[in-house]
């Protein structure tokens, strides 16, 4: 009787899992096998796919446009991550001082985060427009922000930072308010000033928050597409804003080299898994500050 019931219950378990298991197999795991298969074939969607072995890999690593997109992506991440983290931490510090109105500012800062990055990119494309754009009107300049090879990447990074600072702020606020008051009181009694307390007490205690914000930020910045696509179509001036995601899109859906685009996607996948594994290692040995 008991085993019959257990078997029935197991049956129900598999039944409840069936739809999501189908989804995961069909739309997450099967595609990985397909992308590996595609990476070994030459295919333009029209003529039949042709097996070419590792030729796509060789070609991709000799492809100057792809190598440039790796550099552009790294530069983009290096511009976005430190700035958005510093600004987010700074505004979180201001917002946790207990001043009236802090809740209002926090709500406002999150607004760009819930908006479609594509539409935000379109709005900023107008703001950056050389004629009729808002930025040149404010600054009294006549700059071609998005078509100057020296300015395009910083401009694109600025939009990304602008849209994400509020989100980062939320996490630092949570981290800061989780710091026990006794620790801050102890620091004050020991004669620590606000600046010292920030660097020597709060910042070390924010380590887990910091790492979460950095890892998720790096992973999503490595995949940035929507706002960059809107701001600078086709890789921007001389390819200076052609990040990996826009390069993959161009290779797959404009040049129709699905094999080579699959290789690029796999390279990005390996990079992101590496970032994730480093983060896992870190979290395993993270320091906790237990007060009990």
């Amino acid at each position: 009787m008991a085993s019959k019931r257990a078997r029935r219950e197991a049956g129900i378990g598999y039944l409840l899992l069936a739809p999501s298991l189908f989804g995961i197999l069909a739309f997450l795991i099967f595609p990985i096998l397909v992308v590996i298969w595609l990476s070994l074939n030459s295919w333009n969607l029209l003529s039949p796919a042709k097996f070419v072995g590792l030729e796509n890999f060789v070609r991709v690593f000799q492809d100057t446009a792809f190598l440039r997109s790796m550099t552009v992506t790294v530069l983009f991440v290096l511009l976005v991550i430190p700035l958005q983290t510093a600004l987010g931490l700074f505004s979180a510090t201001l917002l946790t001082r207990g001043l009236p109105g802090s809740g209002f500012f926090r709500v406002i800062y999150v607004i760009p985060w819930i908006c479609a990055p594509l539409a935000l990119g379109v709005v900023w494309k107008w703001i950056f427009a050389p004629t009729g754009g808002a930025l040149n009107a404010v600054l009294g300049t006549n700059t071609s922000w998005l078509t100057d090879p020296a300015l395009a990447l910083p401009a694109v990074a600025a939009v990304s930072i602008w849209s994400q600072v509020g989100y980062v702020t939320l996490f630092f606020m949570a981290g800061l308010s989780a710091i026990p008051a006794q620790i801050l009181d102890a620091a004050r009694i020991d004669g620590s000033g606000p600046w010292q307390t920030f660097w020597l007490v709060k910042l070390p205690l924010l380590r887990p928050t910091m790492f979460f914000v950095l890892v998720t930020g790096i992973i999503s910045s490595f995949q940035a597409f929507d706002s960059i696509y809107a701001l600078t179509p086709n890789g921007g001036p001389q390819g200076t804003t052609d990040v990996i995601a826009t390069r993959i899109y161009g290779e797959a859906f404009q040049s129709f080299n699905l094999g080579r685009a699959s290789v690029m996607a796999l390279v990005l996948f390996v990079l992101l898994v590496a970032v994730t594994l480093i983060q896992q290692l870190y979290f395993r040995k993270r320091i906790t500050y237990d007060l009990s």
Binding site: Y109, I111, A116, S177, I248, F269
Partner: protein
Amino acid sequence: MTSPKLTPAQPLPPSTPDLTRQRRIRPGRPRAAAAIGTYLFLVAGFLLTVSPFVLSLMTAIKTPGQFASEPALSLPSPVTGENFLQLFSDDRNFWAPIAVTAQVVVVIVVGQLGFSVLAGYAFARIEFRLRDALFWVYLATLMVPQVVTIIPLYTVLSQLGLRNTFWALVLPFVFGSPYAIFLLREYFRFIPEDLISAARLDGAGTLRILWSIVLPLSRPILATLTIITVVSHWNNFLWPLIITSGRTWQTVTVATAGLQSQYNGNWTLVMAATTVAFAPLLVLFAVFQKNIISSIAITGFK
């Protein structure tokens, strides 16, 4: 399959206390000068955040004539709805992408949440042999980024003749999301066993227990997941861009991008389109801001 805004392999936020009730870090009043300094920075941040929205709305309610002849920052005079009328005219018909996106969002929210609830419950409360192994597989798929699956999904769905159909827009997302399943499992595990066994003694089956006991107790997490799914899929761009072509199945984001490249320089019309793209989520945000902010903190959703 994962919501497009979820980054892969997202670690849980390390600490997620209730953000809506901020504890004052430092007791006592900050000195007036420091407070004024703080407010100066906060107001600067406010202006930087809000001005792009205000400026784009201002442009959307200007006549194209005024936009062409006056500086970008001039106030709209007269205020006009002609850009919006043009946007919704038979010619541009921006209603169509709104209707498509709304249907896509509804179908995905219902399917993804429904199937994720079933899976989350199975992982949390039902004993079966492969449970832990399968849960591990689900967790591992969190590491798969959208950019990697997009090319194979495009080729497979194209081969099946589903390119540029409604099904192609929803199929990859409708069967549940590993991240939602993970969050639901965590939540369901803390529902007291007594409640469930009492209902079972009264003769309730699994679905009955799920529907009348588990779901009513899980309203907060369901609200959170609904919000993040709506936001993710209203804003989704890359997948609809790739899998649709032409106007029939354009979503709002794809239509906005198309309008921008087609009418480059016609900024009053384009800003009307971005206003429409933002509006529903801004209204949602205004109504549910507290829930949305704590949802972000709970799920770390992006």
